[in-house]
C-alpha cells in the first residue's frame, strides 16, 4: 500500500452521506486513505491528478448480495471476474452469497474464497455463510466457526430458510455470535423469502401477464407468507432478520409495521425490481394490456428472475419504500449465467440477471425521472448496506478524512448503450441489452488504487501497483 502514488480528484461534486456533504471540492488520497476532502487542495509531489469537472465523487458502492459462483460454477463467474465487473459498476465492496458448490457452510470453503478474493485483490469481498449444512434446510451449519472465518451474515439464499423451526434456531443462535470484522455481537439472517408450495420454479408474477403467456405465476403471497413468518420469529427471538430482494407491496407493509413495533428487521431491493415490471417478460419495456399481440421478444428468458418482476404498482411502491427508508438499501442479487443456461424456453431457462455493470446506470433513471434524490440513491448504495450488516465501524461507505479510500467517480448525464459483450462479468444475461442508460461510472478507486478507469478499461492492478 505504501508504494501507491497519491491521487487527487479535482473539482468534483462530492457527495458523502455519512456527513451529509454535497459540495464542489477535491479529494486527496494517500496511502489508501482519504487524507483530505475540501476545496482547492494543493497536491503533494508525484500525485496522480484526475480532473473531475461535471462528475460526482462519492463512496464506492457496496453490494451485500452478490453471486460469485466460485467454487463450483467457474464457467458462470469467478471471484476475479466478479470483482472486475463490480469495479466497473462502481462497487468497491461485494458480498459473496453462500450458494457456491460446495456451499459456504464450513470454514475451509470460507477460507478458500477469502484467499481467492485477496489474491484477486481488486475490491473488498465479504462473505455470507450458509444457515444450514449444505443449504439443505435441516441442520444448522457451524455458525460460530464461520463467523470466526469472517462471515458477516448467514443465508440459505437461492433457497429460503426451509422451515420456521430452522429460522427460529438460526435467529436465536446467531444473535450471540461475534462478528469478527466489527467486534460487535449478532449476525443477521438473510432470508430469500419464498414459500415453495406457492412458487417453485415460476419466474413470472401471478397476474394477467402470466396468464397471457400461459405461464403459472408466482404470487406476491408466496413471498409475503415467509416475510410474515420471519418477522414473527425475529420478534420472538430478538434476532436480526434481513429480507433479501423484497418485491411486493404486501412485503413492504409487513416490514413497515415490524419496524414501527421495534422488531429487528431490515430489507433490501434490487435495481431490477426498482426499474422493471412483469411486462418485461413479454419483451415490453413499459405498460401494456391484455389485447396487445405478443412479439417474438415474448418469453424473454433474460427477464426471468426470482422473485419475479412484479406489477408497475409494486415497482412504484418499492421506489417509495426505498426513499422512505422502509427498505433500507439496494442490493444487486447479481446472478451470472452462461449463454446456454439462458438460451432455453422460458420455464427451463436459468433464474437471475447479471446486474453489477448496469446497476448504477439503470438506478439513475429513478434520479432523472425525479423519483429519487441523488444523495438518497448514493446513501442506499453505500452507507445503508454497510449499516444493515452492522459494519459501520470499518470505515467503509464513507469518504471522511481517515476512512478507507473507496471512491467512485461518475458522470450523471452520460448516455451509453448496454452491450453485454462488453461486460467484464462472465454472465452476459441481462434484459437491458440495447437499452440506453443515462449515468455512467467513470473511475473506481478501491483502497486508494484505481481499479477501473472507463478510458483505460481495467488497469492491471497487480502489475501496476503491487
Amino acid at each position: 500500500m505504501n508504494n501507491l502514488r497519491p491521487v487527487l480528484i479535482k473539482g468534483a461534486r462530492v457527495i458523502n452521506p455519512s456527513t451529509s456533504l454535497d459540495s464542489q471540492g477535491d479529494i486527496l488520497i494517500v496511502d489508501g486513505k482519504i487524507l483530505s476532502c475540501e476545496a482547492n487542495i494543493t497536491p503533494p509531489d508525484d500525485t496522480m491528478l484526475i480532473e473531475a469537472n461535471g462528475m460526482v465523487a462519492c463512496p464506492g458502492f457496496i453490494d451485500i448480495h452478490t453471486h460469485l459462483r466460485e467454487p463450483g460454477r467457474e464457467d458462470k463467474e469467478t471471484i476475479e471476474s466478479g470483482q472486475k465487473a463490480a469495479a466497473k459498476g462502481g462497487f468497491t465492496t461485494i458480498t459473496c452469497m453462500p450458494n457456491t458448490e460446495p456451499a459456504i457452510d464450513n470454514a475451509p470453503v470460507a477460507e478458500f474464497i477469502n484467499k481467492k478474493a485477496q489474491d484477486s485483490g481488486i475490491i473488498s469481498t465479504l462473505l455470507v455463510g450458509a444457515v444450514s449444512k449444505g443449504r439443505q434446510g435441516i441442520e444448522l451449519s457451524e455458525m460460530e466457526e464461520l463467523a470466526n472465518s469472517g462471515v458477516v451474515a448467514f443465508s440459505d439464499d437461492g433457497s429460503p430458510v426451509a422451515t420456521g423451526h430452522l429460522m427460529q434456531m438460526a435467529l436465536t443462535y446467531s444473535k450471540e455470535l461475534l462478528n469478527s470484522l466489527s467486534g460487535n455481537y449478532g449476525l443477521p439472517i438473510i432470508d430469500h423469502c419464498e414459500d415453495y408450495s406457492l412458487t417453485h420454479g415460476l419466474g413470472v408474477h401471478e397476474g394477467w401477464v402470466a396468464d397471457r403467456l400461459g405461464l403459472l405465476g408466482y404470487p406476491s403471497a408466496g413471498e409475503e407468507a415467509i416475510v410474515a413468518r420471519d418477522i414473527a420469529l425475529a420478534e420472538l427471538t430478538g434476532g436480526h432478520f434481513h429480507a433479501a430482494h423484497v418485491s411486493s407491496q404486501g412485503s413492504i407493509d409487513l416490514i413497515r409495521q415490524a419496524k414501527l413495533r421495534g422488531i429487528k428487521v431490515t430489507a433490501e431491493v434490487t435495481p431490477h425490481h426498482l426499474t422493471m415490471s412483469e411486462e418485461w417478460v413479454m419483451g415490453i419495456h413499459g405498460e401494456s394490456k391484455p389485447s396487445h399481440p405478443l412479439s417474438l421478444k415474448a418469453y424473454d428468458p433474460m427477464a426471468k428472475v426470482s422473485p419475479p418482476l412484479r406489477s408497475i404498482a409494486d415497482q412504484k411502491a418499492l421506489v417509495s419504500a426505498l426513499r422512505e427508508g422502509i427498505i433500507d438499501c439496494i442490493a444487486t442479487d447479481h446472478a451470472p449465467h452462461t449463454f446456454s443456461d439462458k438460451a432455453q424456453p422460458f420455464d427451463e431457462a436459468a433464474v437471475g440477471i447479471s446486474v453489477l455493470e448496469t446497476a448504477f446506470g439503470s438506478l439513475m433513471s429513478l434520479v432523472h425521472s425525479g423519483q429519487l434524490e441523488l444523495h438518497t440513491l448514493i446513501h442506499r448504495l453505500t452507507l445503508a448496506p454497510i449499516q444493515v450488516l452492522g459494519l459501520s465501524n470499518l470505515g467503509l461507505g464513507n469518504i471522511s478524512v481517515g476512512s478507507i479510500a473507496d471512491v467512485v467517480l461518475f458522470d450523471p448525464e452520460l448516455q451509453w448503450e448496454v452491450n453485454p459483450n462488453d461486460f467484464l462479468s462472465k454472465g452476459k444475461n441481462t434484459p437491458l441489452a440495447g437499452e440506453v442508460l443515462k449515468g455512467k461510472v467513470k473511475l473506481t478507486i478501491a483502497k486508494g488504487r484505481i481499479v477501473f478507469d472507463s478510458e483505460n478499461k481495467m488497469l492491471d492492478v497487480r502489475n501496476s501497483f503491487a
Partner: protein, 326 residues
C-alpha cells in the same frame, strides 16, 4: 379466389391468433372451405406444395393434431417428415435451440412444433432466420390452428358471430385451446363467457376486471342461458390429485354439459370439444353423440384449415393465390 390479394400478407409464422385481424381470419377460412372441397373429392391430392419440406417436431404426445397436419401437408404434395420426442436428439440431451438450428440447416421450409412448455415456438422462431414456424400447441399458452378450425366450424353451423354468445366451460387455467379461442372469438365479434371451477380459472379473469374482455360465471346453469356455442375443455384427471379439485364426481355434477343444461341455451346452439374427450366427464355421453355435437366436424375442418394455412405460409412470397382454385 376472387382477387390476387394475399390471405395473410407477409406472415411468416403462426404462433397464436392474437396478431390475426378479422379480415385475415375470414380470408383464411374462405380458403379453408376451398380446401374442404378438395378434401371431399375422391382423389384428394393436389400438387400445390410439391418440393416443399415440412417437419413436424412433436415433443409432447399428440395424435389428432399431428396426423391432421401430416395429412394436410401430404394432400398438398409437400414432403412431411415427422420427428417425435422419443428417438430424437431431444432424448440425448440436445437443447431445443440446437435441434431447431439443425432442422433449419437441413433447409426445412416450415416447422410445426408442439411443446410442453409455453412459449417454446416463440423461442424457436426468434432463433430461426429462414424457416416458418407453426405452433401446434405450446404448454398452456396457445393452439392457434385449433382456434381457427373452431371458428370455421362455428361459421358453418351458425353463421356470423356478431352478437352471439360463446360459453367456454372447464379448466381454462391450463387450456391453450381456451386462450387461442378467446383471441379468435374476440376478433370475430363474439361475447365470451367462462364457467368452471374457480381453482381452474385465472384469478384476473374472475375479477371481471375492466381490462378483461370476458365474463366469468361459476354457476354453469346461469352461464349457459342464451348461449349459441358451448365449448367444453378437456379436464386432466390429475387436477384432482394436485389438490385443485375435490373430485371428478363433483366436477361432473357442477360443470358437465348435459342435455338438461343445454335446454337453457339457444335452440340452434351447438356443442364443441377440442378432443380427446373424457366421455361422461366434460360432456354427457348422450349429448356427445347427439346431433348438436360438432366434434367430428371439428376434426374434418382441422385438416382443411391446416391445408389452407400451410399453403398460405409456403407460398407467401411467390405467386398469387389465384392457383388456389385447384
Amino acid at each position: 379466389m376472387s382477387s390476387n390479394q394475399k390471405i395473410t400478407p407477409n406472415r411468416k409464422h403462426v404462433l397464436d391468433l392474437d396478431d390475426f385481424s378479422k379480415s385475415e381470419i375470414d380470408n383464411l377460412l374462405h380458403s379453408a372451405t376451398v380446401m374442404k372441397e378438395v378434401l371431399n373429392r375422391d382423389i384428394k391430392k393436389v400438387p400445390s406444395l410439391r418440393g416443399k419440406v415440412i417437419l413436424t417436431l412433436f415433443l409432447e404426445a399428440s395424435t389428432r393434431t399431428r396426423v391432421s397436419f401430416e395429412e394436410a401437408g401430404k394432400l398438398l404434395s409437400a414432403d412431411v417428415i415427422n420427428i417425435s420426442g422419443s428417438g430424437s436428439s431431444a432424448e440425448k440431451g440436445e437443447s431445443l435451440l440446437n435441434t431447431a438450428l439443425t432442422l433449419q440447416a437441413m433447409r426445412a421450409d416450415l416447422i410445426i412444433i408442439r411443446h410442453p412448455l409455453s412459449g417454446a415456438p416463440y423461442f424457436v422462431a426468434r432463433h430461426l432466420d429462414h424457416t416458418s414456424v407453426v405452433n401446434a400447441g405450446d404448454g398452456r399458452h396457445a393452439h392457434p390452428t385449433q382456434g381457427l378450425l373452431d371458428l370455421m366450424t362455428i361459421y358453418e353451423k351458425i353463421g356470423s358471430l356478431n352478437d352471439k354468445k360463446v360459453l367456454i366451460v372447464g379448466d381454462v387455467l391450463h387450456s391453450r385451446v381456451a386462450r387461442s379461442n378467446i383471441h379468435g372469438l374476440q376478433a370475430a365479434g363474439a361475447e365470451i363467457i367462462i364457467s368452471g371451477p374457480p381453482t381452474l380459472v385465472p384469478l384476473w379473469l374472475q375479477s371481471n376486471d375492466k381490462d378483461s374482455p370476458i365474463t366469468y360465471q361459476p354457476n354453469l346453469d346461469v352461464a349457459i342461458q342464451g348461449t349459441d356455442v358451448v365449448m367444453a375443455l378437456r379436464l386432466q384427471t390429475e387436477r384432482q390429485a394436485s389438490g385443485m379439485l375435490p373430485s371428478i364426481r363433483e366436477y361432473t355434477r357442477r360443470w358437465q354439459v348435459t342435455e338438461n343444461r343445454m335446454v337453457s341455451a339457444n335452440n340452434s346452439a351447438i356443442i364443441m370439444h377440442p378432443g380427446p374427450l373424457n366421455e361422461g366427464i366434460e360432456i354427457s355421453s348422450s349429448l356427445a353423440h347427439s346431433e348438436v355435437a360438432a366434434i367430428n366436424e371439428q376434426v374434418t375442418n382441422g385438416v382443411a384449415l391446416r391445408m389452407a394455412l400451410l399453403y398460405q405460409l409456403l407460398t407467401f412470397n411467390s405467386e398469387s393465390t389465384e392457383e388456389l382454385a385447384i
